[in-house]
């Protein structure tokens, strides 16, 4: 077991190294000079040169890569070209919005979708199943920013339960912080929950057609008992895979929702940084996202092992 995890962590490490190389090289290839962007098009060549020197852009590429990696290892992500502020501070501010938002949305989508999927599978082919599946179809089709605007219209403008946007900050208290993230989290969760519910349903229906469900019924379990005791856990593996993928998407892909609700999240940060050729910020944020994806994948693998004894024995 320990060996398995050591092996996983080694792979994890190599994934990060390769990702850092790819990120660094690809951003080097993209045209655009941070120095000239910062100083404007009328800047003198010697001023530009001086700024490049100051930013360390004139050093050899390998050296810059190694410095970047070394910095990240000790928690120093460099200084933003544009804002002249340490990247780590900018990122951690944003992370405290994006991470809770992603987790919040994921919890919502899981809590909604699994029962819905199970309910639909238990009533497969009936009207209730068809209507639930119809709703999830709409949930996938509706653009989430539009849904977000509907939420704002209803809950912020008409009912005035929530504010229309902005983030109170965690200093104002956990409740207020969560409150300002609620509408964005719901709008993010809707399409995710719809997908997850469909996966849960089809996976469970596949499982219900397995022989061991018939065995369970022959033992005298009712349909629902068989479903709960023997169906769900067996149906969970594909669902876990999707949850893992969705979390990664929620971390970085919330940019449109962040814009709708004026949230200072990672998505907006990376968007601005790209526009301003603030390469050091872009690199660091992407690296951070890669890191979170790798960690989540690792956690999903651990979850597989917990769910499935066959995997447990194959790694012993």
């Amino acid at each position: 077991m320990l060996q398995y995890f050591v092996r996983r962590i080694v792979t994890l490490f190599f994934t990060l190294v390769i990702a850092s190389l790819v990120i660094f090289v690809s951003l080097e290839i993209i045209p655009g000079d941070p120095a000239s962007y910062m100083l404007g098009i009328n800047a003198q060549e010697d001023t530009l040169q001086a700024l490049r020197q100051e930013l360390g852009l004139d050093k050899p590429k390998l050296e810059r890569y190694l410095e970047w990696v070394k910095g990240m290892l000790i928690g120093d992500f460099g200084v933003s070209y544009t804002y002249r502020a340490p990247v780590i501070e900018m990122v951690s501010d944003r992370l405290w919005v994006s991470l809770p938002l992603a987790v919040y949305a994921l919890i919502l989508s899981t809590l909604i979708s699994l029962p819905v999927g199970i309910y639909a599978a238990a009533n497969r082919g009936k009207i209730s199943d068809l209507s639930v599946m119809g709703v999830t179809q709409i949930g996938i089709a509706v653009p989430n920013f539009w849904f977000a605007m509907l939420l704002v219209y209803l809950f912020a403008i008409i009912l005035r339960w929530f504010s229309a946007g902005g983030f109170s900050g965690w200093e104002a208290g956990l409740f207020l912080g969560l409150k300002s993230l609620t509408l964005p989290a719901i709008s993010l969760a809707l399409p995710q929950a719809s997908i997850l519910a469909r996966v849960m349903r089809s996976s469970l229906i596949d499982t219900l057609n397995e022989d061991f469900i018939k065995t369970a019924r022959a033992k005298g379990l009712t349909q629902n008992q068989a479903l709960i005791k023997h169906g769900i856990r067996n149906a969970l593996i594909p669902v876990l895979t999707i949850i893992g993928l969705q979390f990664s998407f929620l971390m970085a892909g919330a940019i449109i929702i962040e814009n709708v609700f004026f949230l200072p999240g990672l998505g907006r940060l990376i968007f601005q940084s790209i526009a301003q050729r603030d390469i050091i910020v872009v690199e660091s944020v992407i690296m951070l996202l890669v890191f979170s994806v790798v960690i989540v994948t690792f956690l999903v693998d651990v979850a597989y092992v917990i769910v499935d004894p066959r995997l447990r024995s194959s790694i012993l």
């Binding site: 022959a218 005298g220 379990l221 023997h230 856990r233 004894p309 024995s313």
Partner: protein
């Protein structure tokens, strides 16, 4: 009053007739055998008794069990009868258990469900029941998962669940079909023992007349949802009345027309000291790799125009050796030569492939469903150096289809339009089209119903005589090998333990294992003598 009695039982599924006016009864302490080929409705009869039927099913008639009509009982009450008064054993032990729960949990679940005892006591009882079916605690702790058990052991777990709280009726739907013959023999013994010890009524469903003859007291022969013939087991001996029953009996007691051909002394295929090692996949820094010898130093020859049988149970290495001969898998040591050419997995050229063809077990999985029969059968022709004209191809294919007992017009059809037996005929036609010297028949008739099986075997005998073919006939079923081969090899744990003329090996087996195999193999004549 009998324990269970079906009166005019009919079943429709989506308005399609599945069962038609069945009448049968069985008593405590009795074994009722239901026999029939695929599609006869025998499994649906079993499912009707426990009322676990697919969507859209409607039952008519009566099933009186223990003085209650099961058709009038609510689903809630039925749940109390299933598992408690009626135990059920399924055909597929590999999939009948929940892969994520250990065997202790799965057996104790049924005990806990139907009796008012604590979880702890139910686990204790589960251990006792498992002991009773031959899975003692010391060797098979309750914490074992199904994937850690063999097929036979899993089937014992399923039986344990079915008999855990002493049901009155036990229904076994092809409980031993998926198992090896020696395992099957032990399971049948176990079931018989349970019936006599617990005074059970057992309804045994199978396609194998020999198995029924060995254990049943009463028999029902079914075809297309109807009972064709029924009575005490003695009707098998005294003589069956209906035409279908007679055909079924003859097919189960199949003796092929004697093979009438003289094989040459010249060697066609030589397998010399062949071994195949597998190492376990896990990378370990601390242990040396475990090496598993799937095939260990195996040698044999097949001459021109000779039929050789290769017999063994699952995991004995017969598939590995087949794949090696076909050049699909590499070997670790040894040499395989066909005529003058050595077969090496890395480069088997088309000229060699042309000489060996294969027919696989699964008539459903071995064809591409999107190609028509003409394309399927003519496909091996690309092995030919000279291009064959399209018109000649058609003539060839149609000729072969007629030869294997199909129609020339079948070449335009698709594979789903054929039955299992017809598909196997198409597979045989496909193997013949490049005029091979050797055909490997890998369990080629095992999945077929007995009556179809007899026809295909006859066809194979006839073809081998007329085309001067050699066969390597691989099977787990001794009786099949007996009828079609002149030489036989018996394989166990990767080694050939006995080899010789088929007739000699069957009359005077030398190796212990061969004797066990022969004894375990269900044999209709043997069983009838005991009646």
């Amino acid at each position: 009053m009998s324990l269970i009695q079906a009166k005019d039982l009919s079943l429709n599924i989506h308005n399609q007739k599945i069962l038609n006016n069945l009448n049968f009864e069985a008593n405590t302490g009795e074994i009722l055998g239901i026999i029939g080929e695929s599609g006869s409705g025998k499994s649906m009869t079993a499912n009707s008794i426990i009322q676990l039927l697919p969507h859209g099913a409607s039952l008519r008639g009566e099933i009186i069990f223990d003085n209650k009509n099961l058709l009038n009982i609510s689903e809630d009450k039925m749940c109390n009868i299933r598992g408690k008064d009626i135990g059920f054993i399924f055909q597929e032990p590999m999939t009948a258990l929940n892969p994520l729960k250990n065997i202790g949990d799965q057996v104790s679940e049924v005990i806990k469900l139907h009796s008012n005892i604590t979880l702890k006591d139910s686990v204790k009882m589960a251990a006792k029941v498992l002991q009773r079916v031959g899975l003692p605690q010391e060797k098979f702790p309750l914490t074992r998962y199904p994937f850690e058990l063999s097929g036979g052991q899993r089937q014992r777990v399923v039986i344990a669940m079915a008999i855990a709280i002493k049901p009155k009726l036990l229904i076994a739907d092809e409980p031993s079909t998926a198992l090896d013959v020696t395992t099957q023999a032990k399971l049948i013994q176990l079931l018989k023992k349970l019936v006599s010890e617990d005074d059970l009524c057992l309804i045994m469903i199978t396609h194998d007349l020999a198995v029924i003859a060995e254990m049943a007291d009463k028999i029902i022969i079914m075809k297309e949802g109807e009972i064709i013939e029924s009575g005490s087991i003695n009707i098998l001996k005294k003589g069956l009345k209906s035409v279908y029953s007679k055909t079924l009996f003859a097919a189960s007691d199949y003796k092929s027309k004697n093979i009438n051909k003289i094989s040459s002394d010249k060697t066609l295929l030589e397998v010399k000291n062949v071994s195949r090692d597998y190492s376990d996949n896990s990378i370990s820094f601390f242990k040396s790799k475990k090496i598993f010898k799937a095939v260990n130093n195996v040698s044999f020859n097949i001459n021109y125009n000779e039929n050789v049988g290769l017999v063994g149970e699952s995991g004995c290495g017969k598939s590995t050796i087949t794949r090696a001969i076909l050049g699909l898998d590499p070997i670790s040591q040894g040499k395989i030569t066909l005529e003058a050419d050595e077969i090496k997995a890395e480069n088997v050229d088309n000229e060699i492939r042309k000489k060996i063809q294969v027919v696989f077990q699964d008539p459903f999985g071995s064809f591409n469903p999107r190609h028509n029969v003409f394309k399927l059968v003519s496909e091996p022709l690309f092995l030919q150096k000279e291009k064959v004209k399209e018109k000649e191809k058609y003539e060839l294919v149609e000729g072969l289809l007629l030869r294997v007992g199909l129609k020339a017009s079948d070449s335009k059809k698709y594979i789903h339009e054929f039955s299992g037996g017809q598909r196997q005929r198409i597979a045989i036609a496909r193997s013949l089209i490049v005029k091979p010297k050797l055909i490997i028949l890998d369990e080629a008739v095992s999945a077929l119903d007995v009556s179809i099986r007899a026809q295909i075997l006859d066809l194979l005998v006839e073809l081998s005589e007329n085309f001067g073919l050699s066969y390597l006939f691989i099977s787990h079923d001794l009786s099949l090998v007996q009828s079609i081969t002149t030489k036989v090899l018996v394989m166990k744990s990767g080694e050939i333990v006995e080899a010789g003329e088929t007739a000699d090996v069957f009359k005077f087996p030398k190796h212990e294992y061969t004797k066990t195999l022969l004894d375990s193999s269900p044999n209709l004549q043997k069983a009838l003598k005991k009646l």
